[in-house]
Every structure is written in C-alpha cells, then in structure tokens.
C-alpha cells in the first residue's frame, strides 16, 4: 500500500506514465477532491488498409476506459482545448463497425445504465489529435463551472425525466404506424402485382394469397408432415409376431434392468463417498 502511494507520487511528479504501446495515458479524475485518478488510454483511430470505418482517419481520437460519470458532453468539453470537435460517440465495447445511427426513440429505447466505455472523438482538424495525445492532465470531469450530477441528484433528475409526456408518445406512435402502414400497403400492392406472373425463367411464385390454401412454409409445418408419415409407417409394423421378436423384447427387458442396476450402483457409490449412509 505504502509502496503504491510512493509510486503514485512519483507518477504525479511528472514522470511519463506507463501506457500500452501505441497509446498514451491521460489521468482523469472526477473533481479536485479525489486523490487517485483513472487513466484514459488514447491513440489515433486507424484501421487496416481497405477496411471500412465510420470514423474519418487522422481526425479521430480513440479513447479507452472512459469512467461511468463522464458523458459525451463532458468528454467534448475536456478535449476541446486541443481543437474544435465535430462529434463524440460513446460505446460499450470497441467496435469498428458503424454504430446504429438510427434516431432512437426515448420511449422505446431507454438509455442503459453506463459503465466504463470507449469513445471515438472526431475533431475538425487532423492536428488536434496529436495535441490530444500530448495532454498531461489530470482532466477533471466535474468543475465548479460545469458540475456533473451523480448520486441522489442524478437519480432524482432521471426520475423526473422518466415521467413522460403521453402526448409526445402518442405522436411518435402515430407517425411510426403511418409509415409502417404505408410500407405494408406498398409491399402488398407489389405482391399482388407479381401474383401469378411468371419470372424470366418462367417460374410462378405460389403465395398464401392464392385461391387454394397451401402449406405454410414454416419449420413446424414440415415437421408435422414428417411426424405424420412416421406414425403411418409405425401402424403397419407387426410387433410380437415372430419368435425372435419375443426373444428380443425379453433381452431388451434384461438390458434395461442391467442399465438401471448400473445406474443405481453408481448412485450408491456416490452416496457412499458423500457419507450419505450415516443415519445420524
């Protein structure tokens, strides 16, 4: 413990912080009051030749280990001294693929509880990235001018936010359903148009809208058919007809008993090992 404290003191004295190859470490604290700090591990966002990436190369800073109380706004405020920022995006895991950018509804996709996250910070100019890499910190998440709510304060404000406006919800549902109905209507119209029309190779698609109902194309339906076939076959079979069948069924019975006996022996063995036969 004491050794750790000394080490930390040495680090704070301005020695270069240990960081993994390719990354540089920036200490980050919640506020002035805290003694110890977490470390952001940052590097320039790079991908291998030919891989597609959602974030522009050279202008993007990749940040690891963002503490849970640090929001996107926070991060953008902390890094803005390095250069003006275009966007900040927090993710749960490092993921090269583009995150789902669809507009998420606050009614249907509530925000998850944040943990430690990773961030992609896109600057407007490439030079800002190297400036960020050289940051010495420690960065302060919550300052007097920009306090960050945690604990009871945060929960109360979250509770207030969770009391929703039903009217807004109604409007959102209505717009969605309108679009959905339109999409379905279009699809139906298209399907109707194609009904009975052979494609270029001459095949006609059979759909459930036809005059004669056909078997639905589901797994359950095909399993049902197979089952019916099997039963039909079993009905035709003769059992206990030939002498060898008798013999075999007797042998089968014996084998069953033997299997059971082996199982029981194993159980007894186990119980003996657990001293289960000591009655008291």
């Amino acid at each position: 413990m004491a050794a750790r404290k000394r080490k930390r003191a040495a680090r704070e004295a301005g020695e270069s912080l240990p960081s993994p190859p390719g990354y540089s470490a920036i200490p980050i604290k919640f506020s002035e009051k805290q003694q110890a700090s977490h470390y952001l591990y940052v590097r320039e966002h790079r991908v291998r030749e030919g891989t597609k990436s959602a974030w522009p190369q050279q202008r993007t800073l990749f940040v690891l280990n963002v503490p849970p109380y640090c929001t996107e706004e926070c991060l953008s405020r902390l890094l803005s001294p390095c250069g003006s920022i275009q966007s900040v995006e927090l993710q749960e895991k490092p993921d090269l693929a583009e995150s789902p950018k669809e507009p998420t509804s606050k009614f249907f996709h509530p925000k998850p509880v944040p943990g430690f996250q990773v961030a992609h910070v896109v600057f407007r100019k490439p030079g800002a990235v190297s400036a960020a890499l050289a940051l010495r910190g420690p960065l302060l998440v919550s300052t007097e001018s920009h306090p960050v709510k945690t604990g009871v304060q945060k929960w109360i404000s979250e509770y207030a936010d969770s009391v929703l406006d039903p009217e807004a919800l109604r409007v959102e549902v209505d717009t969605f359903m309108e679009a959905y109905d339109k999409k379905i209507a279009e699809e139906e119209a298209k399907a109707k148009e194609e009904e009975g029309v052979p494609d270029e190779e001459g095949w006609v698609k059979v759909t459930r809208r036809g005059r004669r109902s056909v078997l639905p194309r589901t797994e359950a339906a095909s399993l049902r058919v197979l089952e019916r076939e099997k039963r039909k076959r079993a009905r035709k079979e003769l059992l206990n007809f030939y002498a060898w069948q008798h013999r075999e069924s007797k042998m089968e019975h014996l084998a069953q008993l033997r299997r059971k006996f082996e199982e029981d022996k194993q159980r007894i063995e186990l119980m003996r090992a657990q001293r289960k036969f000591r009655p008291y």
Partner: protein, 1147 residues
C-alpha cells in the same frame, strides 16, 4: 489460503463462497461458474469419487448389455423384483445395514471385555448380613436411589449365581452408534426374604446390590468409567454402566441389571389389579374406604426383572430363524431413532419392536422368507392400522382361565401388549400419546412407501425428525417441580404411589388428555418429550426428577380448525352444559347464536391470522392454570417468535396476511373494472397478476399511500410527484404488475417493432378510458400503464398472445420460417405466460395451506438478510417454500411459519442440488412416471442446466426461474449459511428458558467482505424494514389517514437499487456486490480474485484498470484506489463512507 483476521462473525466463520476461495469451495459444476474451476488438489483427493460428485449418464457397451445372463444374476434380479421395491432401494438398504451393524472385529473386542467383566463380578467379596436402613448406604458407597423410605429388612452381598448377556447384542440386532450390552445378574436366593415384593423392598435390595458392586468395580483399572443409570428409565431400578478403559471407551457400554432368582415372585401377586405398595407405608395413612389402589406399574417393574431370561430365549428362537427378520429389526430401530421415539422412559424401544416382530411372526403376518424391507413394511402396516390403546395384543398362546383378562390390562395401562407369560404388559410405560405418535409416523411412512417415490429410502430412514422440526408449535413446562403441585391439584395420589413418587410420569398422561380435549379440532396430534434417562457418577447423588430440565410438548395443528375463534358448547339446558362449564371455567359464557339456540361457548380474542394461529397458546395456558395449577409463567410457548420478522412497521398483531388480502381485493376490483371497460378497440379477455403480492409472498405487504404534497416537487401537467433533493427519500411504492390480455384479432401487425407501437397505443388508450370512466389516476409509458386505485398502484401491461411467436420467427435464406428462442421472446413468454400461471397456482396453494405465506416470506426475508437476495429470483424462493407444502415427506405439511422456516433451512442445506432437481408438483399434475422421466432427463442434460434446478408441471425441462442465478458459489454460500443457522435457531427455540435474541440468525456475517459501503439511512426508503428495525427513521412524506389523491406518488424510487445497478454495470467484472433490499445499511463488496491477476493489455478489457510495469513488463491491474473513490462518487449523497477492510487487492 484463508485471510488473516477473519474472526467468527455473528454466525461463525462463513466461507466467502461468492468469490471463489478455493479451499472452502465445494467443487463446482463444469461450465457453470467462472471462478469455480480451480479446485484445490486437496479437495479432489478428499472427494475421491466419481467426477466431482456428479452423476454421469451410464454408458454400457452393447456386448455388456446383451450378454447371456448367468443363473446367479437372474436370481438376484428376480429376488429384487419380488422382495424389494426397486434395485436401488435394495442396494441402499444393504449399505445402511453395513453402516449400522457391528463389525466382527469390534465384536471380538466386546466379547473379550465381557469375559473380563464376568470374572471380575464373580470375584467381588461377599459381606455379612446387615440391617437395611439409612446407614447401610454409607458402608457401600453412595445410593443410586432418589428417595429413601424406611424399609425394614436384612441384606447381604453374595456374588451372582448367574451372569447372562440378554438383549440385542446377543440377538445381533444392536445398531451403531451407542452399542449397549445388557447383562442380567441373578441374585442368590439367600439375599432375598419373603414379601420382598412389597413396599419397594426388592428394589431397595437391588440398589444395594448394585451399590456394592459399583464400589468394588470402580477400583478396577479395567474400566474407563463406572456410572449409574436407570434401566428403561425407571427411577426405582438403577443399573450399572461399565465402559472399557482407553480408546475403546466409546466402543461399548455394558449395563448390569440385577434380577431375582427364577420363580421367586409369584406372578399372581403381581397382577395389574393388585396392590403391592401399601398406603400406610407410602403415605403414612390408610386410604379412605379401606381398599388399597392397585399398583400396576410397580408390579410391572418387578415382573420385568423376572422375565429377562425368558424374553431373550423367545427372541433368539424367533429372530434366529432368518437374517431377514434381523435386518428388519435393525431397520426399524433406525426408523424409530430418526423419529426420537426410542429414548427415555416409555419410549418405543428396540426391544418392543423386536417383540412386535415376534408377535407378527407368530400370527403369520411376517414370514421367515421375507426381506428386511418387507419386515419393515409389514410392521409399519400393522402399527398404522392397529390401535393398541383399544385392542391390545398378546404373545401368550395359552388359554388358561387363571390368566388375567386383557380388559384388566386396558383398565390399568393406556397401551397393551402382553408377553408370552400373559402377566407382563410390555408397553406398560408407553403413554397413549407416544403410541399415537408412533402410529402417526407409521401412517406417514406407509403413505410414502405406497407413493413409490424414488427417494423413499432417504426420507424414511435417513432424515432425522427432531421435535422442533416435526411439530408446528412447541411448549415447554418448566420448572418441572411445578408438576408436583399439578399432581396434587389433579388428585393423582394413587398414581404417585404406583410410580414411586415420579410426579413427571404420573402427571404426563392426565395432562396430555386434558390438552387434547381442550384443543379439540385445532389439534392433529399431541406428543410429549420423554424424560431422558440420566447417567451419573457413582460418587454423586442421583439426579432428581426436576433435574431433567423441562417437559416439552409438541403440537401438530390442523389448519382448518385454526380459523375459528369459537368453541361451541352444548345448549344451556342440556346436562352436558355443566361439564362444559366445569372444563372451561370462567371462559365459558352463554351466547345466543344465529339459529336461535342459546349455548355455552368459549370465544378467544384473535383478529388476525397470526393471532388465530396462537389460539392454542391461549387454550393451553388457560387449561393448565385452571386444572393443573400451572401458572402461565411456567408455560413457555414457542410458536410465534419468528413472526416479528415479517410484521409490518406499525403492526404488532398481524403478520401481514390481512394486508396482503386487502391488496388482492383491490386487485380483484381493478380486474373487474378492466373486464368491463368500454371503448377499447379490443375487449379485455383476461387479467392476471404476476407480482409476488398477488401470490401472498411479498415479505412486506404494500400499504395504501396517501402522499403529503409539500414533501415533493410537483409536476402538475403530468399529475405526478417527484422527490425533492433537499428532503429525505420518499416512501418506496412498488407498483404491482398485472398482465392484461386482449381478445384475439387479425388486425395486429406482424412485425416486432410495429407490435410494440400498437401496444403502446393500447396503453395510452387504456389510461385515457380508466381516467374518463372511473376517475383513476394513470401514468403511461410505452410498455405499461400505472394505475392508482385506493392508494395501491398497479402496473398494467397489455399483452399480445402472438408477440413471443413473432419475436421467435427467423427467416432462413431459402424463405423457410423457423422458430428460435431469443432472449427477448423468452423473457416476454415468462412474464406473460408462465408467471401468471405460477402466480395463480401459488395463490391457490395459499388458500389450501394458510401458513404458506408466512413460510415463504420468512424464507425470503432470511435469504435477503444474508445479503444473497439478488442471487435468487423471487419465484425460485417461492417455489422452494411451496415444495415444503407439496412434498412435506417425511413430515406433515407445516401449519406455522416457524416450523416451515426451519424445514426451509433444512431443505436448502441438505438438498443435493447437483444430482437432483427439486420437483415442485403444483396441483399434483405430475404423475410418478413423469417424475421418474424428469429425473432421468435431468441427468442426461445436467451440464446445460442451471446450478439449482426447480421443476414445475408448467416447466418440465428448463428450470425457468433459476436461469439467471444463483451461481454455484452463491448457492454454496447459502447452503453453508443455512447449515449454520439451523442448529443455532433450533437450539434457541428448544431452550426452555426463552429463545434469547431470535434475530441472531438473520444477521449476516460481514467479516467476509473486502469492502463495506455504508449507506445513509436518509436515502434508504425501506430503512425501517431492517432486521434490527431502527426506533426512529426519517419522515417519508406520507399521511397515515386516507386523503383524496390526485397526483401519482413517486413509484419504484429506491436509491440503493439505482446505485447497485450502476456499481454492477461499471465494476461487475471486478467485484460482486451484496445488499439486503429490506433496509440494508451496508453493501458488501467482494473482489473477484481472478480479475486481480495481472493481465496483458487488451483494448476490450481496460474497464477500471490501469497499466503498470511489473518486472519490466507492462500489465494491467485494477485501479483499486480510483475505484474506491468511484464508489463514493457514484453514490453521492447516499454513501456515508467506504470502508476498505482487506489488503488482499494490494498486488
């Protein structure tokens, strides 16, 4: 290794099962725990058996399965089929018998010891004749008799004429542990005089004989201890206990019983109608009316000594016929011992059971070719169907008219079973209650054997049934000296004379009869503890009757009788009315009933379920004070001590059943409203509750809320209240979830996202209509509508039946639609299908067994108090509690929360979760065959199943309610804690002088945690639910009186839960967090040892870690100091302080 400084906590040192301390951890299941895989080699060698104590499916090759059977094999198979229930049972019984039988090696050592004793006894010097008086003892050492009446006579010591081993050792039916060898010493005729049978003179001489023997044998270095005891518990008949010296001390106890020479006593003088203790001698006065009262028990004790030899001859002749009989007797002895029936004066001893087997052989109910199992079964069958208190039996075949009639014996004794002489009642000391208890146990066991349950063996012979766990309520009568006064009040002088002054035994019968009559329809069975047989050093005085502690009675209650507060008597003008008044004393009063009759009646004060359960206490204390002069300070009634833990804040008279019922009634009203709603596009087809309140298992039932607006911030336009930062946290209101099914329709969209939107539209519409038509305050989100009704808040969720189906649909590239379970579909199916079924099944169970609610809530309370609540789903604990009612074997379904909770602890600590599923047969839907099938498919699929598997008729494969936990470590921790709590609690409850602090076992051990986060009570809304409830807490913004409420109260606002969610999300892979949701003030944190191993850098696992250089290498370790500060930051306002307790994380 164990950490230093982990001293015993409240419950002793409990191992940190959660974080994987390998030394104390049981081997975990493969693929179920993250950390459990490291099993220390020490443990492995200890277990030593099949892979980690886990059953594997048997694999036999084809050749082995189908080879030609040998004759021997066929014989064994046939024998198993005809003589035993199953091959498993046969193997189990064989193993058990091996375990309890005496080994040949030990037998040899015992035989040698017996030979030595024989020689020593014959060498004890004689003494010349002396007068029997008080001074005699001084010459012989100390007296093994309690009371010394003046007895005139002459005594001398001569070595016995015969030393003979009698009893089970000779017959080969004695069982381990406590091997006793009974040795009969025939006293020479010269010692005895005429009329020795009169006025205890024979017993006096017998005691003197032993005292002299003891005095001499005690000086012999052969014996490790020489002590006195009573033969068969009878205080007039001491016996001498001899144990070998050295390491064999616990091997064997030899009991010496002096007995008279054969034919010394004439049996006709010892008939049950004869008197052999004269009143003039015993009481110093002649009885009024000159007829001496008979002394049947005294006579029997004399007769017992004369018959020792003939009994052993009879037994060895019969039991020697076949090994099956001996096996049967040994099994029956184990059976009796597990039920604590064989010990003490008047116990149903092994000797009695051997005699009973002999009787059944003589009547051809048992055949000599029978196996031990069949003997066991036949005897149980006989006991279950034969009431020896009414129809006595006799081994005597002679039809000599001079023999006494059975009716004479019935007059004198409650239970009658005569030996082959026809003079001696073997069951003389057995009370009617004891015999009824034996019968009750036999009936339960027969039912179990007939049900063909797979684990019958375990339940029948291996499960102990101590009184506290077998009976619903227990009561202790103490001090015992009070019974002396009771005897006088009950006018039991003849009985005292008969029993030689043993007032405990004399009072036992009349007291149990009195209570049985008084408890009437509330009682199923009344049992009493038998006074234990004391043992004392030969230099000490014998213990007195009052020194045996307390007399304990056990009540098995009848739930249907408990609901009534009225004891209806006869009509006032009937002659029986006087008896009724006499019986109930001042409690009896005249009442006019609705049908116009005027009757005598007794009314008990009890408003709530909890108080009604304790009416037996009122009955018992009233009757004992009235008829037996035992004041209520001498009656320690143990029935409701645990109720305090499930009582609400201001409730002291109820354990919450009424509050739950009120909530359920409100829910019924709401569902009626929902059914009748007009204006919804689809009508409501069903309303089903899924919240624990609606199955009576919520630990603290909800109370109606009437918020004080000034305490809150108001959101007027949303008609809601919001907590204020400057006030303490408001009261916790948990909405009760209700699923609302709509009638079927083809209009629903077939796309998951669209279904969610339509459902949201329904929720909005529902709120609108409820508000318009019924004026109920509502609040809507996309998934539910909260409805405020009469102070209760319900969370109504609209469900669409086909939605799980839609979530499951997957389209393959060929366009084939297949159904695959997804987490979302499973969750939805669970909440809208299985949970309503479970809730209604448990609701039904509560109607059948009114104690279910109390048991389930106590159990849940305890698990949560141990900070393990979050590891177990609500439903899984409810189901374990339900199992206690649905498969109570070998017990009777509990009728009080206390006994149910004890059995919960027993079940949890002893159930073999690894190798068997807990089958909870709700509504008895599963047949025996189906259960067997479930067992075998369980074994095949063990690796894929959760650690704890609970099967219900609705959920036969997957164990739905334990899918998300507990982990192997948490379950192990629970088992350890339960195993520690059970004996502590049982000891407290069995202590006749009060339970002490009943909350002891509810306090969790805190010394196992690495970090403790102390929370501020100001922001714990359920602060007052804590186990040690604080005397005062903060104002929570509620009125106690009903007020019209237009604004929705704050719902589900529980800061500790929000805090825990954040902690788990941020640090879940570094640590485990433990908390008691019912007012816990501390969060226990355990670091996960595996995450504290330095790891190479990986971009995906940097969470909360930092890079340090270690030996020139860059590795990642958790940034503990920063994390400890994070604990405080994330819980700003809630956290009081963070206490780091161990240095384990210092890498």
């Amino acid at each position: 290794s164990r950490r230093a400084g982990a001293g015993p906590g409240v419950m002793g040192p409990a191992p940190p099962g959660a974080a994987g301390d390998p030394e104390v951890m049981e081997p975990t299941l493969e693929g179920t725990g993250e950390e459990g895989k490291k099993v220390s080699s020490k443990k492995r060698t200890l277990a030593g058996s099949p892979v980690e104590g886990l059953l594997q499916p048997v694999k036999l090759s084809r050749a082995e399965l189908y080879k030609e059977p040998t004759n021997e094999e066929l014989n064994r198979l046939r024998e198993t089929e005809s003589l035993f229930h199953s091959s498993l049972l046969r193997l189990q019984l064989e193993e058990l018998l091996k375990e309890v039988r005496l080994s040949e090696k030990k037998k040899k050592r015992i035989d040698a010891f017996l030979r030595e004793i024989n020689q020593r006894i014959l060498k004890v010097p004689s003494i010349p004749e002396i007068e029997v008086n008080k001074q005699t003892w001084l010459k012989l050492g100390s007296s093994p008799l309690q009371q010394c009446f003046t007895v005139k006579g002459r005594f001398r010591f001569l070595p016995p004429v015969q030393v003979m081993v009698v009893g089970s050792y000779l017959l080969g039916t004695c069982i381990r542990p406590d091997i006793n060898v009974d040795v009969a010493l025939t006293m020479p005729r010269e010692i005895l005089q005429d009329k020795d049978g009169l006025n205890q003179r024979y017993f006096r001489k017998r005691a003197l004989y032993l005292a002299h023997l003891a005095h001499h044998l005690a000086q012999d270095p052969l014996f490790g201890s020489v002590r006195f005891s009573y033969s068969g518990g009878c205080h007039l008949k001491p016996s001498l206990l001899l144990r070998p010296q050295g390491k064999d001390e616990h091997l064997v106890t030899v009991r010496l019983h002096p007995c008279p020479p054969p034919d010394f006593f004439r049996p006709c003088r010892l008939l049950p109608t004869k008197n052999n203790v004269r009143s003039a001698w015993y009481r110093g006065q002649s009885p009024p009316g000159s007829s001496e009262p008979p002394t049947p028990h005294y006579n029997t004790w004399v007769l017992q000594d004369t018959a020792l030899e003939s009994h052993v001859q009879l037994l060895s002749a019969v039991l020697g016929l076949s090994p099956g009989l001996k096996d049967g007797v040994a099994l029956l002895k184990v059976w009796l011992r597990q039920r604590e029936l064989d010990k003490g004066l008047g116990g149903f001893s092994g000797f009695l059971i051997s005699m009973l087997v002999t009787f059944l052989v003589s009547t051809r109910k048992i055949h000599t070719t029978m196996s031990g199992y069949q003997v066991l079964r036949s005897v149980l069958q006989f006991l279950a169907t034969t009431d020896l208190t009414v129809n006595g039996i006799s081994l005597c075949l002679s039809s000599d008219p001079s023999l006494p009639a059975l009716a004479d014996f019935h007059q004198a004794f409650p239970v009658v079973f005569l030996d082959s002489s026809g003079y001696l009642n073997l069951c003389a000391d057995v009370t009617a209650s004891t015999y009824h208890q034996v019968q009750h146990e036999a009936r339960l066991s027969m039912a179990l054997l007939d049900s063909k349950a797979d684990d019958g063996f375990q339940l029948l012979l291996m499960t102990p049934k101590p009184m506290i766990r077998a009976f619903d309520h227990i009561l202790h009568l103490r001090p015992l000296s009070r019974l002396q006064a009771a005897c006088h009040r009950l006018k039991l002088w003849p009985e005292l004379q008969d029993h030689g002054g043993d007032y405990v035994t004399a009072a036992l019968g009349p007291l149990t009869t009195l209570l049985e009559q008084g408890l009437g329809s509330r009682l199923h069975l009344l049992a009493h503890s038998r006074p234990p047989v004391p043992e004392w050093d030969i230099s000490q005085d014998p213990p007195k009757h009052r020194d045996t502690g307390a007399l304990t009675l056990g009540l098995l209650l009848r739930p249907e009788g408990l609901t009534s507060v009225l004891e209806m008597g006869p009509e006032a003008d009937q002659p029986e009315a006087a008896d009724f008044r006499q019986f109930w004393g001042s409690r009896s009063e005249l009442r006019r009933f609705q049908d116009g009759t005027i009757r005598e009646a007794v009314v008990w004060e009890a408003a709530s379920m909890a108080q009604k359960r304790l009416i037996p206490q009122q009955v018992v204390t009233h009757l004992l004070a009235l008829h037996a002069d035992i004041p209520d300070t001498c009656v320690h009634y143990v029935g409701g001590f645990l109720d305090a833990l499930i009582q609400g804040l201001k409730e002291t008279s109820s354990t919450g059943e009424e509050a739950l019922a009120a909530a359920v009634r409100c829910y019924d009203d709401l569902s009626r409203l929902l059914w009748g709603l007009e204006g919804l596009p689809l009508t409501v087809s069903a309303v089903q509750g899924i919240h624990p309140v609606l199955r009576y298992t919520e630990v603290f039932p909800p109370t109606p809320v009437w918020p004080a607006y000034s305490f809150y911030q108001r959101l007027r336009e949303r008609a809601s209240l919001v907590p204020r930062p400057d006030k303490p946290c408001p009261a916790y209101v948990e909405p009760m979830t209700v699923v609302c099914h709509l009638e079927g329709s083809g209009q629903w969209p077939q796309d998951a996202e669209a279904v969610r939107r339509v459902r949201a539209a329904f929720q909005l519409r529902l709120a609108e209509i409820l508000m318009q038509q019924h004026g109920l305050q509502c609040r809507t989100t996309a998934t539910h509508t909260d409805v405020l009704k009469d102070g209760f808040v319900f969370r109504v969720r609209v469900a669409y039946q086909r939605e799980p189906q839609i979530l499951r649909e997957m389209r393959s590239p060929e366009g084939m639609i297949s159904l695959r379970d997804t987490p979302a579909s499973l969750r939805l199916e669970r909440d809208t299908k299985q949970l309503p079924l479970l809730t209604s099944a448990l609701h039904g169970l509560q109607q059948q067994h009114p104690a279910f609610s109390g048991v389930a809530r106590l159990a849940k309370r305890w698990v949560r108090a141990q900070l393990l609540g979050e590891g177990f789903s609500n439903e899984s604990l409810d189901l374990v509690a339900a199992a206690l009612f649905l498969q109570p074997e070998p017990f009777f379904p509990p009728s009080s929360p206390q006994v149910g909770f004890l059995r919960f602890l027993y079940l949890v600590s002893t159930f073999d979760w690894k190798n068997s599923p807990l089958i909870v047969n709700l509504n008895s839907e599963l047949t025996v065959e189906e259960q067997v099938e479930i067992h075998s498919s369980f074994l095949a699929a063990r690796a894929q199943l959760p650690v704890m598997v609970i099967i219900t008729p609705q959920d036969r494969k997957s164990s739905l309610w334990t899918q998300d936990g507990p982990s192997a470590q948490i379950l192990q921790q629970l088992m350890v804690l339960a195993a520690e709590a059970l004996p502590i609690l049982e000891k407290q409850l069995m202590d006749p002088w009060g339970p002490g602090d009943i909350r002891t076992v509810f306090r969790p051990p805190l010394d196992i945690y690495d970090v403790l986060i102390h929370l501020s009570p100001r922001h714990i809304p359920r602060h007052r639910q804590a186990v040690d409830s604080p005397a005062a807490s903060f104002c929570r913004g509620l009125f106690s009186e009903p007020r019209p409420s237009l604004l929705m109260p704050v719902l589900g606002y529980d800061p500790p839960q929000f805090y825990l969610a954040q902690l788990r999300e941020a640090f879940g892979d570094l640590a485990l967090f433990f908390y008691d949701q019912h007012g816990g003030q501390v969060i226990g944190v355990l670091w996960k040892p595996t995450s504290f191993q330095p790891q190479p850098f990986k971009a995906s696992s940097t969470k909360g870690r930092m890079v340090v250089s270690q030996g020139g290498e860059l590795v990642m370790v958790p940034n503990v100091e920063a994390i400890l500060e994070d604990f405080a930051i994330l819980g700003e306002g809630l956290v009081q302080n963070v206490e780091a307790r161990s240095e384990r994380w210092a890498v």
